[in-house]
Every structure is written in C-alpha cells, then in structure tokens.
C-alpha cells in the first residue's frame, strides 16, 4: 500500500453508484495492482537507462580490454593482459597521466580559492545582487569546445593576446603550444574560466547558510572582515569545499574537450605535451591506433584511478565532517562544565 489512502471498496461504497459486483472486483484488483506496481514502474526508466548505457558498458569495458578488438575488424582473440602491457609500455600513456594530474591541479586549486573569495564578496549586502551573480555565472553557458577555441587563440604563441599583454610588462613571449607547463596553464585557465563562477555560487549558497550570530559574535570579539573570513566563513563551509573538490576531481580527471581543440590537430601537441588520458583513450580507440581493446584497457585503468581517488576523497570528507560536528559545541561543553562545577 502506498499512500495512506482508503482502500478502493470503501470508495465505491461512498460514491454510492451501484455497479455490477464483478466490475468492482476487477477495478479493485486493477487499483491494487496500480498501487503495487506503479512505484517501480516510475523509477524504472532511470534504472533501465543506467543499466544499458552506464553500468553494462562500464563492466563490459573490462571484457573488451582482454580481447584483440580493432575499431573496424571487431572482436578478435582473447589475449589476456596484452592490452594492459601495451598501454603501460607506451610512453604516451604515462605522459597523459602526468598531463591529466598537472592540468587538474592547476585548474582545481586556483579555481576553489578564487571561487571562495568571489563568494565572500558576493555574500554581502550588495546593490544589484542578481546582476553580479548572473555576471559571474555567464561563462558557464559557453561550451568547453568554444572556450578551448577562444583561449587557444588568446594563448597563441605568435601574435596571441596573452603574449602581447605580457610584452607590455617586458616579459618574453611564452610558447604556450610548445612548453609542457605553459600549455597546462593555458588549458587549466579554460577550465577555470568556465567553472569558477559556477562554484562561486555553490560557495555563496553555503555561506548564506552560516548562522549570522557567528559573525555578530566575531564582530563583538573585534574581528575584522579578513579575520571573520578565515575564522568563521572558511571553517563553516568546509563540507562544501570538499564537495566541490570531489565533483571537480571526477570531472577534472576526465578532461577532454579543451585539450582536444587547443590546436587544429587535436592530438595533444607535437610531443603530447597536453594529451590528457581521455584524449589518449580517444586517440587509441578512434584516432591513430584504432584499437578498441587497448582503448578499453585505458578506460578501465582511468576508471580505477577515478574511483580510488573518489574513495580517498570520501574517506577524508567523512572524517572531516564528523570531527567538524563537535566543534561548535565546544563553547557549550565548556559552559556546561562551568555550570556543573558551580553546582557541585
């Protein structure tokens, strides 16, 4: 039985419409069936779609990865861990891992820091609140591919906007499309461009949930704006910081769009300076190697990395949020101890 609704027969009796008993029996049966089956029916689209296009492909990836499986030729012989040895033997794979982590760090750390500061600025009694909030969110509607193309031009090695801006300060042109670290900075800036505003609003929402009395208390204690930020705001939104880091990890380790369009060739640069692991996966499967078996091995390796990092994140989140729970009560505890001492 689902909702605490009265059973069907009563309903018929109330309405007083005399109907042939067989028909009542049928509609009653139908109604009971409706109540029993509907909940499952309504949640089934998600489970069906997820099973067919999410879960099954993920598991099947492991199966494909132990076969010789060409893009055009299809399934070949069982070859055990040959694909994995091949992948581990390709220097490109290791370079892609390094690039992925480097770009991920360069994008997530500054992004979280800037987003928190912007959120603190927005979390004031501003004029035209909605305007500022929409203003920081605008880059979110620009597609990553578009961002990649725009920034690819801004970070052009010759006659790029960034390099000529640096030239104004007497800094030599940076070879954004040649140097490893420079290319990572350029790609990370694309990610930051699109996501900083989004995360700012998440932090802003968390900040607005901080009890205002904490700020009042801090002000009475003589804390200035900066001190309030570090002693009240940041500790109070710690759970949200971890949430943002977690979601940006899952996305950041699979980054593809921006590095794909950073140059017209789309293969991560002349010596794969900015080839990320997902781009490498694409290159193995559909690009130069056209080997789905090997690409599946890459996918499975990356999957395990993402899940492992997710679990580590989860463990850290759990510990911090449970230890954080006791914190605001410290003053209460002390007060309680004081009063018990007094009464003793």
């Amino acid at each position: 039985m689902s909702v605490q609704s009265p059973p069907a027969p009563e309903r018929v009796a109330q309405s007083g419409a005399p109907r042939p008993p067989r028909r009542v029996g049928f509609s009653q049966k139908l109604s009971r069936w409706d109540v029993k089956v509907s909940p499952y029916l309504y949640i089934s689209p998600f489970f069906i779609v997820f099973a067919i296009t999410g879960l099954f492909p993920l598991i099947y990836t492991a199966y494909v990865s132990v076969y010789d499986w060409a893009l055009l030729g299809g399934q070949g012989e069982f070859i055990g861990f040959q694909n994995y040895t091949d992948v581990f033997g390709q220097p490109m794979f290791w370079r892609s891992l390094r690039n992925t982590f480097s770009i991920f760090l360069l994008s997530s750390v500054p992004q979280v820091l800037v987003a928190i500061v912007l959120a603190a600025l927005l979390d004031q009694n501003l004029r035209a609140k909605t305007f500022w909030r929409m203003g920081v969110l605008l880059p979110y509607v620009v597609a990553p591919v578009a961002v990649g193309l725009i920034f690819g031009r801004m970070f052009a090695d010759q006659s790029g906007l960034v390099n000529s801006a640096l030239g104004v300060f007497g800094i030599d042109p940076v070879r954004w499309h040649v140097d490893v670290l420079a290319s990572h900075v350029a790609i990370a800036s694309m990610v930051n461009f699109r996501w900083t505003g989004y995360n700012t609003l998440i932090f802003l929402a968390a900040m607005q949930a901080v009890p205002r009395e904490l700020y009042e208390a801090a002000i009475i204690d003589g804390a200035g704006r900066v001190r309030q930020f570090f002693s009240v705001t940041v500790p109070q939104i710690r759970a949200t910081i971890i949430f943002v880091v977690l979601t940006s990890t899952i996305g950041g380790l699979q980054i593809f769009d921006e590095p794909r369009v950073f140059d017209p060739a789309g293969r991560g640069g002349g010596s794969q300076q900015w080839m990320t692991t997902t781009l490498y996966l694409y290159d193995v499967g559909w690009g130069t190697q056209r080997d789905l078996g090997r690409a599946a091995a890459v996918a499975w390796i990356l999957f395990i990395i993402v899940v492992l990092i997710g679990l580590v994140n989860f463990a850290v989140t759990n510990r911090i949020s449970t230890s954080g729970g006791g914190q605001p009560s410290r003053r209460q505890r002390r007060a309680a101890a004081r009063s018990s001492r007094r009464s003793a």
Binding site: S2, V3, Q4, S5, S15, K36, S38, P39, Y40, Y42, I43, F46, F47, V49, T53, G54, L55, P57, L58, Y60, T61, V64, L118, L121, N125, L126, R127, T130, W132, M134, V136, L138, V141, A143, P144, V145, A146, V147, L149, I150, F151, L161, N163, S164, F193, Y198, L201, A206, A209, E216, I219, I250, Q254, D257, R260, L281, G285, L292, V307, G310
Partner: protein
C-alpha cells in the same frame, strides 16, 4: 536586521534607506553596504568572464591577415561579422543548419525526457511506499560518483551493432534520464508535495499516474524548470560522446565547430564567427533564464 524591508513596506523607501544607513553605521554590522573595492573586484571578475566572449566578436569581424599581425585588430566589432556568419552558415565542410537543428532536437528531447522521468522517479521515491525504496535511492545517488563516460567503448560497440552510429538517438538515449535529475526531483518533491493532496486525489479515485500527472507534476514545476534548463545547457555544450558517435554528415554544433577548426584553421576569423554562433543561443537563453540558473545552482548546493 530583517526590519529594513519591513520599514520599506510600512514607511516607504526613504525611511528604509535611513534605517539601512543607521544599521550600516554600526561598526562592521552584517547588513552594511560594502565599499567600492568589492564592486571593483566583482566588476573585474565579470569583465574576465565577458572579455573572451567579446574577443570572439572582434576576431570574427577581422580578417586572417590582420589577426596574424595584431592580436587586437580592432576595438569594436563591425559589419563584416555578418559576412563571416553567412560564410559559416554556407560552409562546405558541414551543414550549419543541420548541426543547429540537431543540437536543438537533442537538447529539447533530453530536457523534456529528463524532466518527465526524473519527476516520475522523484514522485515515487519521495511520496510512495515500496519495498527497497531507501537502498534504491542510495544506489541512484551513488551512481552520480561513477564516471560512466569511461564506458564509451562498449557503448560505441553497442551503437555500431544496432546501426545507430551517426544518428541522433545514439546521443539522446543515454541522456534520457540522469541520477542527478532523479535526486534533485526527489529532494524537491519531499518538501513541496503535501501528502494530503495525494490522498485527496486517491480518494477521488484517481489512478497513480493520474495523481502524478495532475498533482505531482504541477507541484514540481519550479524544480522541473531548473532541471530542464541545466539539461539543455549540458546537452548543448556536450562534446565528448557526440564527437565519437556522430560523423561530419550529421553533427551537433560543438562537433561542427571542431570541424570548422580542422578545416579552416588558416582563417581564424571564420572559426571565431562559428564559435560565437554556437554560443549565441545559450547567451540568449541566459539573458532570459539566468536568474533561474543562479537560483538552481544555489538551491542544489544547499541540499547536495
């Protein structure tokens, strides 16, 4: 502190402003107006967001020679931008309008389907009692942390087997309903839909689906609108899977713009004009619904 709006109602905006000013006077009081520095910093942040979009227009209205000599060929976009637009729309490399309509179809269908299926599931999870409800909901939430994007290889093999390579349904079907959508609607309906309404409908003899359609669906409208918006934006900007499964005869806009880059890399002004055309529909959407997007992100953050 909440007294200021109240004063505005009872004594007019002048008195409200005075009250606000007096509360601002209290040293560091929370409701005081921030100083100029705050506005300057926020202004810089907004300009950093606007700059690259504006820069797209500048490059789009120049010619390749000017771009290669001067990174800032002009300070204002001009009418030649429209020539570039028409050149992009009549490109030989791909059919712009086909890409445009493909993007529209994919985004609209997935947004509508996600809203319908997520609201159905949310109604069920939030308001109906059935065996296994809790564990199933936990399972849905857990799948949000699973990088399903990494299942592309078998997904591609499946699509090849059933002959869907290069077709729109290959992009639409995997995106029909998302874990995020189900979670989002469950959260919303738990609070927004009173049990009494459902009971009343049931007493009146409405079937389960009728109850969903006439009671839950209207109650879910604000959250459903936000979910539709986010799904639309996500699909409009989606690139990885479409770039694998679609081909250049039948692309979406992001796939098309990549084709533009590969084919016209010598003429960057064309590429930039294309980039702007891809972005424009979402900028228009943002002008009308940006407020809802902001509210949606902030509401999701508190619950999530």
């Amino acid at each position: 502190m909440s007294s200021v709006p109240m004063i505005r109602q009872s004594a007019g905006p002048g008195a409200a402003r005075a009250a606000a000013r007096s509360s601002r006077g209290k040293a560091g009081g929370y409701n005081r107006r921030p100083g100029v520095v705050t506005y300057v910093l926020l202004g810089i942040a907004v300009l950093v967001g606007l700059g690259p979009i504006y820069y797209t227009l500048l490059l789009g209205s120049s010619d390749p020679a000017a771009i290669s000599q001067n990174p800032l060929p002009q300070l204002l976009p001009d009418a030649s931008l429209f020539d570039k637009f028409s050149q992009v729309m009549n490109s030989d490399a791909f059919s712009f309008w086909k890409a445009f309509w493909n993007s529209v179809i994919i985004s609209v269908v997935t947004a509508a389907a996600t809203v319908l299926f997520s609201t159905l599931a949310g109604f069920s999870f939030a308001k109906l009692n059935f065996r296994g409800r809790r564990p199933l909901l936990v399972f849905v939430i857990a799948t949000m942390a699973v990088p399903t994007q990494l299942g592309v290889i078998p997904l591609y093999i499946i699509m090849a087997k059933i002959g869907w390579i290069g077709t729109l349904q290959a992009v639409i079907v995997p995106a029909l309903v998302t874990a995020f959508g189900v979670f989002w609607m469950t959260q919303y309906l738990e609070e927004a839909l009173p049990y009494e309404l459902i009971e009343a409908a049931r007493v009146d003899g409405a079937s389960m689906f009728r109850t969903f359609w006439s009671i839950a669906m209207p109650a879910a409208r604000p959250a459903a609108a936000m979910l539709a918006l986010f799904t639309f934006v996500t699909q409009w900007t989606n690139f990885f899977w479409p770039s694998i499964v679609l081909n250049q005869d039948n692309p979406t806009l992001p796939v098309a713009v990549r084709l533009l880059q590969a084919n016209y890399f010598v003429d960057y002004s064309l590429v930039m004009a294309g980039v702007f055309l891809v972005t424009l529909p979402l900028i228009i959407l943002f002008m009308f619904a940006g407020r809802q997007l902001v509210a949606g992100i902030m509401a999701g953050a508190v619950k999530g």
